[in-house]
Amino acid sequence: MEQRKISWFNITSLVLGFSFLYLPIVILVIYSFNASRLVTVWGGFSTKWYVSLLNNEQMLDAAWVTLRIGFTSATLATILGTLAAMVLARQGRFFGRTLFSGMIYAPLVMPEVILGLSLLLLFVAMDQARGFWTIMIAHTTFAMCYVAVVVQSRLAGFDKSLEEAAMDLGCPPVKTFFHVTLPQILPGVAAGWMLAFTLSLDDLVIASFTTGPGATTLPMKIYSQVRLGVTPEINAVCTILVGIVTVGVITASLITKRQQLQRERDERMAFAANQH
């Protein structure tokens, strides 16, 4: 939109809108430092809920399981999703392409209850013992679709002729991918990994369906506690999670911004050097 003066109405709606988005989280964080067990009454500042969290074995176990599932499924989903993005962006038409792109886009809009139920029934039919690995496979499956979409948009924005030039000069396809394509799409791949990781960290429904005895993830633990009521301890867990994600996202965006500036500077310098 062409620049016109921002009106008071615009500013008010922005302030109200962003307060609506952020106030609940801010309140949750503030009340995690509440000394009183009654969550709605302020009893002074205290970090005791964080200390009691450190002694809560079950919560720590759940956190450890969640992190392990997150790391493995995000890594696998990034590999599979990047392959899928290469197929969609670079392989043109092939037999079964419509089905393939359908299977990539469908999980993005599919209700979680259906994804969870269907995967559980598959694992039962395969007579597979459920637990860590089944949750990991389930998370990989839906996260790879998000990765594919993110990486594909990055691939679409970069010049295919670079790859073609490398291959014309005799560089084998695999080497071309690692030396030409991957460095270009790396920000997209990294964003895809982070997205896959947070999706896995966040998921309650699919994990509940595909879990087995012994594998309780953090969202499942939080959910079972929430059903019993709001406690400052859950507020503390949530605050830690929100903190990790916020720091991660902001750091990532700062890094990409710096890399972009660096690249632009390099290009300018190369250009200037060329002029001499």
Partner: protein
């Protein structure tokens, strides 16, 4: 010889191409498509008290004869059951209704935000965009949970309203449909704002200036110029909120009450509490059939957008 090397390389690259396609393809066939076939299959079987709690529907062991034999035993009883118990019909209808109303509220709440973002100085826009996307990265469960403390009878909202003297008795919001609407609007707001912002941001501001120069009052210019030009954003945003909201489980379960009837919750209860896997599968198949319509419409609209661009 040169030719031979070339054809070898050609065969190799073709093999490579098929290997590249085959790996993600096989994964999705096994872990996305096959499960749906199984859901459909189990929705046609009968519930039994055992582990797993359903009768196998296809007897693969006896080959084709066994398959044909069991195919004759397929029953649509679970689907007939869905039509006989009014609770399922009501749950589907009320899910659609709740999702529709929540989508409309999200549009009304989201539009001024997206409009304000598009009007903001260019230098602010990346930061504002980041602020809209950031909540999307934080846990859905946590964001829904955060509302319990606010909406409770003795929660913050009631405390504030009562201390201001606006109300004398606490408003009962938690465990009602109102809380579900708040939850959906809150959780899905970024999905609405992003497409709206991207269509408003592209808009040519001189069109409004032209309208105003020609004596069109600002409100009229907004309704007759801005709104029609942002229709693609409105459609995309509404689909992005509506489709996932229909099958939502976490929000109605945590914020809703006994009056809240949503199909995602019904499926969950059918599966985990009643342990009736065949009926849960039938519920899932019907939900999928209902959602296919908006999903296909959405995909079409997106393709049209892409062609127009």
């Amino acid at each position: 010889m040169d030719r031979e090397v070339h054809s070898q390389a050609y065969t190799k690259s073709r093999l490579g191409r098929w290997a590249l396609i085959a790996v993600p393809y096989a994964w999705l066939l096994l872990f996305f498509l096959a499960p749906f076939v199984i859901v459909f299959k189990i929705s046609l079987s009968e519930v039994v008290v055992s582990i797993p709690p359903y009768q196998p529907v296809i007897d693969w062991a006896n080959g084709l004869a066994g398959v044909l034999d069991t195919a004759r035993q397929w029953s649509f009883d679970n689907y007939i059951w869905l039509t006989q118990d009014a609770i399922y019909f009501k749950a589907y209808l009320s899910s659609l209704q709740i999702a529709l109303i929540a989508t409309a509220i999200t549009l009304v709440v989201g539009y001024p935000i997206a409009y304000g973002m598009a009007r903001a100085p260019k230098a602010w826009q990346p930061t504002l965009l980041m602020l809209i996307i950031l909540p999307f990265w934080t846990s859905f469960l946590i964001r829904v949970y955060a509302w319990i403390g606010i909406l409770k009878n003795e929660g913050l909202l009631n405390q504030v309203l009562m201390s201001l003297g606006l109300i004398s008795d606490p408003l009962i919001i938690l465990n009602t449909n109102a809380a579900v609407y708040i939850g959906i609007v809150y959780s899905y707001l970024p999905f609405m704002v992003l497409p709206l912002y991207s269509s408003l941001e592209k808009m040519d501001g001189s069109l409004i200036e032209a309208a105003e120069d020609l004596g069109c009052p600002p409100m009229k210019a907004f309704w007759q110029v801005t709104i029609p030009l942002s229709v693609p954003g409105i459609i995309a945003g509404c689909f992005l909120v509506f489709i996932p909201a229909v099958g939502e489980f976490v929000i109605p379960d945590i914020l809703g009450g006994s009056e809240t009837l949503m199909i995602g919750k019904t499926l969950w209860v059918e599966f985990f509490r009643n342990r009736d896997w065949p009926v849960a599968s039938a519920v899932a198949v019907v939900l999928l059939l209902i959602l296919v319509i908006p999903i296909v419409l959405f995909q079409r609209q997106q393709e049209k957008q892409r062609e127009a661009a």
